[in-house]
């Protein structure tokens, strides 16, 4: 949307539409929220009320991915994006994806700060491919504010945990500090040994050491980066909410096959504020009188 003076948004701060919405919210008594009823009431028990739903989004062109495949006739190596080389092993691609998530989360946080929030709960991170090169990164959550008077945290906390989970953590003496994303991608050339182990005419059972190395290295790199980013939020605990791995094949030329892997970790860092040796949890053994499914989450 062009501004009244005809110029378009320069990419600094928030887009005009978001600014307008924040101005409207400041004048309004009503606050939006994406919380379910159990979420809202659970948060109320720890003194949080919603101040509005907040969003951050960016459309980004992700075109150049990097080059190189760690070629070797019998001794290829896995090239991970986090290995320090600026261009090798999909590093530019991973930097672009990081930029997407970081910008989306930063804009979400700007909205939350403008609303005077203490935290943002239930953040959903979604990524949508608009066409071959352009993708949209969206972060969407509900900003909440505490009733207590006194000092406030300098930066609102962010979490992908829902309202009931945040409330349970607070009751037990833990506070979420921030949401973290860790990504890594990499490539490995299919060398002679890998091709032998993986080929269909190999009738015996064997581990494909090259592929195991690829997925392990990439996952490990993603975990390291995830932990480093979670650590930056502060806290002693990180609750991982999702981890993913995708492997695919690429044939840049005849008789030359590479395998790529991309791994991601998303989760929330938390810190303990209880003073005792153990968290003051007190569970009650209850037997619900409805049919419940076994579930872990």
């Amino acid at each position: 949307m062009p501004r009244s003076d005809g110029t378009t948004w320069d990419g600094v701060g928030l887009p005009p539409a978001a600014q307008d919405r924040l101005t409207r919210a400041a004048d309004s008594q009503a606050a939006g929220s994406l919380l379910s009823v159990p979420d809202a009431s659970a948060l109320a028990t720890v003194g949080f009320t919603p101040v509005g739903e907040v969003m951050g989004c960016i459309v980004e062109q992700v075109a150049w991915r990097g080059y190189g495949c760690g070629y070797g006739w019998t001794d290829s190596r896995t090239v991970a994006s986090g290995n320090g080389n600026r261009w090798a092993g999909l590093a530019p691609y991973v930097q672009a994806v990081y930029h997407g998530w970081e910008t989306a989360l930063r804009r979400l946080l700007m909205e939350a700060t403008a609303l005077g929030a203490d935290g943002v709960v239930g953040i959903q991170l979604t990524q949508k491919h608009l066409d071959l090169q352009n993708r949209e990164f969206v972060a969407l959550g509900t900003a909440v504010r505490g009733v207590a008077v006194g000092p406030r945290a300098k930066v609102p906390f962010t979490t992908d945990l829902n309202g009931t989970d945040v409330s349970k953590l607070l009751h037990a003496g833990w506070l979420p500090t921030g949401i973290a994303v860790g990504i890594s991608a990499g490539v490995r050339h299919d060398d002679y040994r890998t091709r032998n182990q993986a080929s269909w005419w190999n009738g015996s059972n064997t581990e494909i050491t090259g592929y195991t190395d690829l997925v392990s290295t990439i996952r490990h790199d993603a975990r390291t980066q995830f932990e480093r980013r979670a650590r930056a939020h502060g806290g002693e605990a990180v609750l991982v909410s999702s981890m993913g791995l995708h492997v695919w094949e690429n044939e840049p030329s005849d008789n030359h096959t590479d395998h790529y892997a991309e791994a991601s970790f998303i989760g929330t860092a938390a810190t303990a504020f209880h003073r005792g040796a153990t968290a003051p949890t007190s569970s009650l053994t209850v037997l619900p009188l409805n049919r419940t499914k076994e579930n872990r989450r």
């Binding site: 003194g47 009733v147 945990l161 932990e227 650590r231 502060g234 605990a237 949890t281 009188l289 872990r296």
Partner: protein, 276 residues
Amino acid sequence: MTSADAAIPRDAINRLNAMREGDHKGLFTSDLSVNEFLLVREAGFRPLGLVLGSSVYHVGIQTARWSKNQEMTTLSEAMYHARELAMTRMEAEANALGADGIVGVRLEIEFKEFGESIAEFIAVGTAVKADQNHPLAPAGHSWRNNLGQPFTSDLSGQDFWTLLQAGYAPLGMTMGTCVYHIGHQKFWQALGNAGANVEIPQFTEALYDARELAMGRMQAEAERLEAEGIVGVQLLSLPHRWGGHTTEFFAIGTAVRSLREDHTIAKPTLVLPLTD
């Protein structure tokens, strides 16, 4: 929590503001849910970190006689070996962290689209360490099992908590697998059964045999751990990619032993949830 210290407690704000300025302590990661995390802590265990083991494996080829019931030993061995590799690597990570056990273990197989018989076997869990002078452990108790390994358990945090309250401790995940080829009916047999409601004894027998092999192997693993029993057993039929007549029968559960003589837990309170 009273309304005076509601929202973000002052202690937390102080810590938070201090930590953002760079005062870090040890950090652990875990894929436990909030419920599980809090219950594991209450059960007297401290999470040390997410542990993970993986193996990308090429499963060999074996042909079966069209009409014969038989175990596909090459395939059974592959499923065993690859899972073992993933589990051992996960346990090695836990060992490096000095863990007493691994809870919430998930053991998954994902066949890859880029290869006919290539699959990734992955084991993920949270390494934990028992609090010192754990109230539930008898004097001189070691949480590690008789093989000197950290215990492993695929139970959820909720089940883990309840198991400990009832006076049991997990020893290790036990599994048994059997890839079985169920013979096709011979031509004259199929013709004779056409249009009739009859049992096909050959098929029934095959399914019995295969399940028995899988469960027997799981039991043997539990005996090796000197377990008292196996809880949370799942008996799965996994068709994977071998067509309709070749199936993996997979039994998996957590072997347990007693921590004390009696096994009573507090009588649960009945609740009527107001949600679905």
